[in-house]
Symmetry: C2
Subunit: 213 residues, 2 copies
DNA sequence: ATTATCTATAGATCTATAGATAATGC
DNA sequence: ATTATCTATAGATCTATAGATAATGC
């Protein structure tokens, strides 16, 4: 069993026409990175399979050796952004020694970090119109569960406990909107001076004020 | 000089192949309405000129009699959503008899109303990746001026007056993010029970809490 | 004559598949 | 023999223009 060879050593298969990019990534990862950059800057519909493949250092048709098409790339990218936040949210829900206010703050901070951190502002993917499609139901299910975690934590705060159902839903929408709204702010001003972590903490502070703590 | 005839009366020009829609709109308005619906649901790149034209009751090529192409339609729609908010913001800035807190609240309420009201959740247009393009610089200029009005009003509040520049920018970003975030909330849950006006007021309340009033 | 439409189409895409090719592996 | 790539292309778009046509206006 040969170990996966990541270096530039001898490879099986016909050599590439173009130079292999020196990122050190596996071809599939290379495709995902290329798609992330292009989908976030140009959008999904405006990004051709050719553009993705060439940026990953291969010809358009070769892409199909690794993925079934553009759709799979977007689905993978979407899930990769929301899954870490959800895992963290589950941990926080299970932690009954920390006050709910603090746990909510942590979730907000972490979520903003994921949405705005990373090389390509991956949160921008949530804005793509194609994402609403049924095909990405998996992503939506995870995102809905994450929103549910926000709701539970808000309900567990001192300010949230007394709220009737409808008011709790409204608070949850507002907090969730604030968190996702940072995607838009960052998109319209990518050169911002303040670091992601400062921004994430300020957003978490603001979220607690929205809840009424 | 013949008055514009909006009814179904005799018209100059070759008759349409399909029935004229009974909306009572002029053809150009009909095209804008069709584009609004399609751009907000499918996105810009995924909407063909054919789809827009047929929905407006004419053949694809006839669209070019009224507009220069898809791009002009998007530019017109974008400006139509942001211009009313800006006009209102200017009025509020000029009003020195009302407390800044109250004026900020009003601006938030009105802006959310425009973004989420209307038939097609036009705020969704802000999310389209194509909108970042240089071609829509006019829209961005107006939106930036609106954001400037938010900033001025925040600075004029009791809580905002003491803030150093950087902190003021951060508050402005958070409030602006909260307002634009409602677009995302509404998009993911279009069947929401609460009315737009209740939601707009709750968002305005939350914005004041973010500012720290 | 003017106008609002139509039909037809050139030219430019873009996606996904078929089948060839050039390496290594055994 | 297996694998990773390539080239080539069919079929399906989509946009914008050219030029014809069928009304009203005078």
């Amino acid at each position: 069993m040969g170990a996966a060879r990541t270096g530039a050593g001898r490879r099986v298969g016909r050599p590439r026409a173009a130079q292999r990019p020196d990122s050190g990534l596996e071809p599939r990862e290379e495709l995902l990175a290329a798609a992330a950059e292009l989908f976030t800057t140009l959008g999904y519909a405006a990004t051709s399979t050719r553009a993705v493949a060439e940026r990953a250092g291969m010809r358009q048709a070769s892409m199909y050796h690794y993925v079934s098409g553009k759709e799979e790339l977007l689905a993978l990218l979407l899930e990769s952004t929301v899954t870490p936040s959800l895992a963290y949210a589950r941990d926080l829900l299970a932690d009954d020694t920390t006050p709910a206010e603090r746990r909510l703050w942590e979730l907000c901070r972490a979520d903003v970090g994921v949405l705005c951190g990373g090389a390509h502002n991956l949160g921008v993917l949530y804005l793509l119109p194609e994402v609403r499609d049924e095909r990405f139901a998996g992503f939506h299910a995870v995102r809905a569960e994450l929103k549910g975690a926000y709701r539970q934590l808000i309900a567990a705060t001192a300010a949230g406990g007394a709220l009737p159902e409808g008011a709790l839903d409204l608070r949850t929408d507002l907090v969730f909107g604030l968190i996702e709204g940072v995607i838009l702010v960052r998109r319209s001003d990518p050169e911002r001076s303040v670091s992601v972590s400062v921004f994430a903490e300020a957003t978490a502070d603001a979220a607690l004020r929205v809840v009424g703590v």
